[in-house]
């Protein structure tokens, strides 16, 4: 069983929801990424999404764009990201790591070589924002050949036909984008999410995480009442951005703990619970 599947199984047994923080590898600089990942785990992360910086992050709002720019200024590359994951794995064998990024750095690396090296580094899943299922058939196969979970996005605009396409190619979990917009935007529609998630979960047959627009304990808790996982990105990056370099990990840990507590508190519990 994959590390991701095992994580969700354990959580389900405990009646808890997964907390999935996102940070950009190399932000604010490459040496800080490992301590930040460790802080995320200490703060209660169940899975870590690690952003691979790209020069043209079309689907990201200003916060993650800035994170990408900082990382690239410090020479972060896909090869460097894999190096960081290897280092993380030497200390942590349990917390799944999902790489999230854009197609071009992976294609420049070579898709098959990437899948091989990602597996060797201890990566568990890969989400390529600009690989919708129709452009991802071969790459998904390549990932699976290396025991990596291909993670896909679904959006409020997605038709049910697309739920099935994603179900056929994806594994691990499904990432539901909770709003029409880029990362970091603020207009989250809870009712829409609550309506969609049960349908999606049934169609895709895997855990459903929700992200884009979750910024605090209250919104995380509401989302967790319907979803299997809560993804938080831009808000954590703001925390890093606004902290002196050395205090970043401690601040991120404290922020995540608050979310963790909200998710685990009584009223946030239970997979079957409806809002």
């Amino acid at each position: 069983m994959s590390r991701i599947a095992k994580t969700f199984e354990t959580l389900r047994g405990q009646g808890r929801k997964a907390l999935i923080p996102f940070i950009t590898a190399g932000d604010p600089d490459p040496d800080m990424t490992l301590p930040l990942m460790q802080a995320l785990v200490e703060g209660g992360a169940d899975i870590i999404e690690l952003g691979v910086p790209f020069s043209d992050p079309m689907a990201d709002g200003p916060t993650i764009q800035r994170a990408s720019e900082r990382a690239l200024q410090h020479g972060m590359s896909l090869r460097g990201v894999l190096g960081i994951v290897s280092a993380f794995r030497r200390e942590n064998g349990n917390t799944p790591v999902v790489l999230m990024g854009y197609a071009n750095p992976i294609e420049a690396y070579g898709t098959d070589v990437f899948a091989r090296d990602a597996q060797a580094a201890g990566v568990d899943g890969v989400l390529v924002v600009d690989y919708p299922p129709e452009e991802c058939v071969e790459f998904s196969a390549s990932l699976r050949d290396h025991d990596l979970d291909p993670i896909f996005l679904l959006a409020p605009t997605s038709t049910e036909q697309r739920y099935s396409e994603v179900a056929a190619l994806g594994s691990g979990y499904l990432y539901y984008v909770s709003l029409k917009g880029v990362t970091g935007a603020g207009h989250l529609d809870f009712d829409e999410v609550a309506r969609r998630i049960p349908v999606i979960r049934e169609k895709v047959g895997m855990p459903v995480g929700v992200g884009f627009g979750i910024r605090d304990a209250a919104s995380a808790r509401r989302i967790a009442q319907v979803a299997d996982a809560v993804v938080i990105g831009s808000r954590i990056i703001e925390e890093i951005e606004n902290s002196p370099r050395d205090e970043g990990p401690a601040r991120v840990r404290a922020f995540l703990r608050e979310i963790r507590m909200a998710l685990d508190s009584k009223s946030g519990r239970g997979f079957e619970e409806k809002p």
């Binding site: 420049a108 690989y131 997605s158």
Partner: protein, 404 residues
């Protein structure tokens, strides 16, 4: 079928031109692209759509644009005869408006009251703002802050036309970043907004539909060249930024395999300097950007690198996927000319023919000037004069050390 009339059917149903093209976008946009594809297919079946498009091209844009024999310049060069397809005479001063009318009509058909666009030189932005005013639509144009500095007059034109111009400060602050920002707007406002892409790039179906709306350029040439010159040209030459004016004039000639098709990219300071915008000529690696797979200027880590061209409209690290396909198939050739060569052609056309060409188009002119002298005087070169140069006054004056 005679050898010189080969059938050509591109792209496939998923927008692939061989290994190029496709629709590499985040999931949120995929349904919008499917909706656009369906609306376009439906419009193509509707004679009323075609009729309205043609009516506006004729009465609003002023088509057909003439072909002009540049006799003095040809004579001075001392070789092949150079003919110019005068897209510079279109309303708004470039070929861009052909496509904008097509897409604005589609937007109206789809019930989208708001249009957005990216722009580099400002020509596509001006054309979009123009048609938005014409059809009563809200218009928002994204433009890199570097380009806003280079193209101040066009920024003011867009504002006069009622558009909002949004400066883009991310990345290299040029065309590619404006495109990123327009995509972000589209993702956010996908319900009421139509994204009018200005070139044959972007995700499927854009490369196909922009080409289709620009095809009028070459179709007119097919009848105009025999009327004016007695036959079809030996070569068709066009500049290539994203590639829309080139696809527009090439497309009708693709089956006529005895006509050479030559795309001219921007060599900037020279291919060897790395400071250029010529992914095809430089054989850049293939990658994915802005929704399609194509030749792409990038570093060894797959990060897009900054390009350079004196002309903002050619300053783009990628190229439309159909050009990538035409290059690999050998049907079209791609070359590049430097800033200085383009400037020389710019001045030659001003002085000898009384036509001030756009700096983009000057790249195509420069290549014609390069090959014409070695050809005999009965050979015919057809150059797409994609736009007029009024917008470039500042750039050219600055190069000549003149301040306004």
């Amino acid at each position: 079928m005679p050898m010189h009339e080969l059938p050509y059917h591109q792209p496939d149903a998923h927008g692939h031109f061989g290994r190029y093209g496709g629709s590499f976008v985040a999931e949120t946009l995929k349904p919008a692209l499917d909706e656009l594809l369906a609306a376009y297919a439906d419009a193509q079946r509707d004679p009323a759509f075609r009729a309205e498009f043609e009516y506006d091209l004729k009465h609003y844009v002023g088509r057909p644009s003439p072909i002009y024999h540049a006799k003095r310049w040809s004579k001075l060069l001392g070789g092949a005869q150079i003919y110019l397809k005068r897209e510079d005479l279109n309303h708004t001063g470039a070929h861009k408006v052909n496509n904008c009318i097509g897409q604005a009509l589609l937007a109206r058909r789809m019930g989208k009251p708001r249009v957005i666009a990216e722009t580099g030189a400002g020509q596509h932005g001006v054309a979009t703002a123009t048609v938005a005013a014409r059809y009563g639509m809200e218009c928002c144009v994204y433009m890199g802050s570097e380009d806003i500095k280079r193209q101040a007059a066009n920024v003011y034109r867009m504002k006069l036309l009622g558009a909002t111009v949004v400066p883009v400060n991310s990345g290299s602050k040029t065309l590619k970043d404006a495109l990123n920002e327009a995509m972000r707007d589209w993702v956010t406002n996908v319900g009421n907004t139509f994204y009018i892409i200005g070139t044959v790039a972007g995700p499927h179906p854009y490369p196909m539909l922009v080409r289709d709306f620009q095809t009028v350029i070459g179709t007119e040439c097919l009848t105009q060249m025999p009327e004016l010159a007695g036959r079809q040209p030996d070569a068709v030459i066009a500049c290539v930024g994203g590639g829309s004016n080139a696809m527009g004039i090439f497309y009708s000639y693709i089956p006529k395999t005895d006509v050479r098709l030559i795309g001219v990219e921007a060599a900037g300071f020279g291919l060897a300097t790395g400071k250029h915008a010529a992914p095809l000529t430089a054989n850049s690696p293939v990658g994915v950007l802005h929704g399609n797979r194509t030749y792409l200027m990038q570093d060894e880590n797959g990060q897009i690198i900054e390009t350079h061209s004196i002309s903002a409209g050619l300053d783009y690290p990628g190229v439309g996927p159909e050009h990538a396909w035409l290059k690999d198939s050998g049907r079209a050739e791609y070359v590049a000319v430097t800033d200085d060569e383009a400037l020389a052609a710019f001045h030659a056309l001003c002085r000898l023919e009384g036509i001030i060409p756009a700096l983009e188009s000057s790249h195509a002119l420069a290549y014609a000037a390069k090959i014409a002298p070695s050809m005999s005087s009965d050979k015919l070169l057809l150059v797409n004069l994609s736009g007029r140069g009024d917008k470039d006054m500042h750039t050219v004056a600055e190069k000549s050390g003149i301040q306004f």
